[in-house]
Symmetry: C2
Subunit: 213 residues, 2 copies
DNA sequence: AAGCTTCTGTTAGAGGTTCTAACAACAGTG
DNA sequence: CACTGTTGTTAGAACCTCTAACAGAAGCTT
């Protein structure tokens, strides 16, 4: 039984506050602008004090990424359970992910953008990844009526990421992930800017094609 | 007539060498590990000397990104002209982009990954972006037989990025870009690792769906 | 050829970062 | 009350970007 002493609670509070300020900084100047020193200063504490709470910049970063991953998984789950109609659920999840990403672009990019050098995915992150994938797999499994075979070899997309799923479900889940990610990452990185087309229309069209795959 | 003096040539040579070392460093430790100082040291020259050649770290980074963008556009063009069969050209271009990205993951991510803070796209980058998009638009325009209307509003995807193209061509070019980017960026960031499915099979399947859109 | 100008390199230094080491002060426990 | 462990402090090493002031070489002009 992990009894939490006052010291433990204080420690956790400091860590939480530091992480919150860290997100502010990342939002302002990107992941590369994250400075343990600046966080300490903003907390009214002097530089190396934070090293009592985080082994270093990398550990803080790793924890931020891990938290973000957990958030994404939760957002996906929430979007999925909110939509009762199996047929409409894929679109709902897609919209949920896009909305979350637009609200938390830096969090999203920390998880699925350019990897940060010193980061080693801990167990909790792997778990969150599995949970996120599970939402997609369940979403498409609900639509799984026997409808003939996929064009692919049945086992080409199998693997430990999706045990006990049908080939079509795996195919759809992966199409969902890669397509939605492609759109969302380009959108939040601003690569659609200045092109002049309507992103909403493109997204809606792409989501529509998920039924066909 | 811009006559190139020996000094100009020397200057250009130094800049080129610096950029080449910069790519090495980025390959080794990511974009955040790029250090003007370290480049200088490796060139056998002392720290601030490089500031005669680049206004600062941001300018060097901007030039690297711009060069990478130009490279991507060239790779797309090369893949397109290599395939004579109009019907097979989309797949050829997709494979060309994926291959280039796997060979130059950092270059790819600098262009289409998480944006780096101090970067402001110069004119040359915008031009390269247009050229890259032009390859996609031409590739799909070649398949443009009158085949009924798109499900979308005809003008929803129009804009200055694609003047004088059909709605279907625009739709396909954007689907190509977002889908291939989604797959490629996840793949080179290592997000498929440990999942256990066959990336080649998924990519082939996704490329196959481009005909249907 | 001589002199002037421009460019290129140097060192010094300010201010930022991460992170370690040594030390002081506090909280909680026997 | 004393002891232990935690938390904060400052000092400092090693890195970074970037500016300033200066030395020397290269090229152009007269």
């Amino acid at each position: 039984m992990p009894t939490t002493t006052p010291r433990d609670r204080y420690r956790e509070q400091v860590r939480t506050e530091a992480k919150s300020i860290a997100w502010e900084q990342i939002g302002a100047s990107g992941a590369s602008g994250l400075s343990l020193n600046a966080i300490a200063k903003q907390m009214g504490v002097s530089g190396p004090a934070l090293y009592r709470y985080f082994a270093g910049r990398d550990e803080l970063m790793t924890e931020l990424i891990s938290d973000a991953y957990t958030d994404i998984a939760a957002a996906l789950r929430a979007a999925a359970v909110r939509e009762k109609d199996d047929r409409k659920r894929p679109a709902a999840v897609a919209n949920g992910l896009r909305t979350w990403a637009k609200r938390n672009p830096h969090r999203y990019l920390l998880v699925w953008g350019t990897p940060v050098p010193g980061y080693e995915a801990p167990q909790t992150t792997t778990d969150a990844a599995r949970k996120a994938m599970a939402v997609l797999l369940e979403t498409f499994a609900a639509l799984d009526v026997a409808k003939g075979r996929d064009a692919l070899q049945d086992d080409a997309l199998s693997g430990e990421w999706a045990p006990g799923t049908s080939p079509r479900t795996r195919r759809r889940a992966l199409a969902f992930w890669t397509r939605v990610h492609g759109f969302v990452s380009l959108e939040i990185c601003g690569h659609f800017n200045g092109m002049g087309f309507d992103p909403d229309a493109l997204f809606a069209a792409e989501v529509g094609t998920l039924h066909e795959v």
